[in-house]
Symmetry: C2
Subunit: 200 residues, 2 copies
DNA sequence: AACGATGTCCATCATATGATGGAAACAATC
DNA sequence: GATTGTTTCCATCATATGATGGACATCGTT
């Protein structure tokens, strides 16, 4: 039951955000009483943290997958692999994109465990892309650049119901358009610079 | 008074979103009673629409400025001008970035006037960049690409308190990092393709 | 000064929401 | 079958919030 509540909370928090999701909505979605929810998860905030924690763990798994599949591959291909994996994951779990973006806006204490640690994600990607040898040596520029792309992925997916009609494409092609767009923007930028620095 | 309420509402809605901003918060910010607020603006939703309307008008003005300053300038420079103008404007009015992003998530009727019409913005930029001769002829690809950059701008600014410490830069350099990052990503991507197509 | 229009505040209402206590159902162990 | 621990539900509370009605104030016009 605790797990069923978590799953429902994850979906609803993702759809409506923290404030616009009531404990009663979640309870009704699972067909239980509100007090049962509180029995298992304590207060609303605790349930929310449970959701964030689970999502965080999932994302870290995906990054490890990126790292595994990027070994002995050149930069352009590494970027493509990273985009493909993250897009596939997020399109399959679109509530994750929403949850992360909602997190930006929460006026909570951003030092808490509650927060999804974006910095960690960014650094992980940078290292997986071999833009730097270790997490400590990732430059501000590279982090900012990865961040920009990470934003784009999240926004394309969190705002899919908004942007898809605007682009006038069906759901399946939309995935393709998003991937192509990201690759189009990202790959030339990074590979061009790397080639230039290698020439010297 | 009506204007003072609007200004306060704009700031607070931008900080907290629609649901987490109460009419009492706004009233207290302007040092008036809640009923005075309702007297001037009707229900909360109407006030919110007032804010969105004002912001929308402001943004359209900026796009016209972009268009003016982009005449008789080559593509790379046009892109830089657009990024500079929009970044300067949004860094000066960061609540605008928040309001637009909050709009993505609102579960409202997205056909209403309430919505900030992103599609219109995107098309306007594409035409100003001379990626297409008329608004009707802007391709899906170009719209998606502009959209991706537009996302990045908004996220960098809406999430500035989140990302700036993460990048470990001071407020002033942060603006520079954001602009540089956007240009780094955007300019090569678009100019490379244009050059390629012009070569043939 | 009288009057009406406009603006502002106080008191109040109805509702939604987070949360809890206690009773009842259920399950496991002896 | 009794006992104990766990889970679920019903009833209820305290509070926050959107919203309104009516009284008072302010100001310009006559």
């Amino acid at each position: 039951m605790k797990a069923r509540i978590l799953a429902s909370a994850r979906r609803l928090f993702g759809e409506n955000g923290f404030s616009d999701t009531t404990t009663r909505m979640i309870a009704r979605d699972v067909s239980i009483d509100v007090s049962t929810l509180h029995y298992h998860w304590g207060e609303k905030q605790d349930l929310y943290e449970g959701v964030i924690g689970a999502v965080h763990a999932e994302i870290m798994e995906r990054f490890q997958e990126v790292e595994r599949r990027c070994r002995d591959v050149d930069l352009a291909r590494r970027l493509e692999i990273a985009i493909d994996i993250m897009c596939d994951y997020l399109f399959e779990h679109p509530e994750v994109a929403n949850l992360i973006l909602f997190g930006y806006f929460r006026k909570a204490d951003h030092t808490a465990v509650l927060d999804i640690n974006i910095s960690q994600y960014i650094t992980n990607i940078a290292v997986a892309m071999e833009l730097a040898p270790t997490p400590e040596t990732v430059s501000v520029r590279d982090r900012a650049r990865i961040l920009a792309v990470w934003h784009s992925v999240l926004n394309f997916i969190a705002g899919r119901n908004y942007f898809r009609p605007m682009l006038d494409v069906a759901p399946v092609p939309y995935v393709r358009v998003v991937k192509e767009t990201l690759k189009f923007i990202l790959v030339p930028a990074f590979t061009a610079e790397t080639q230039a620095s290698r020439k010297s």
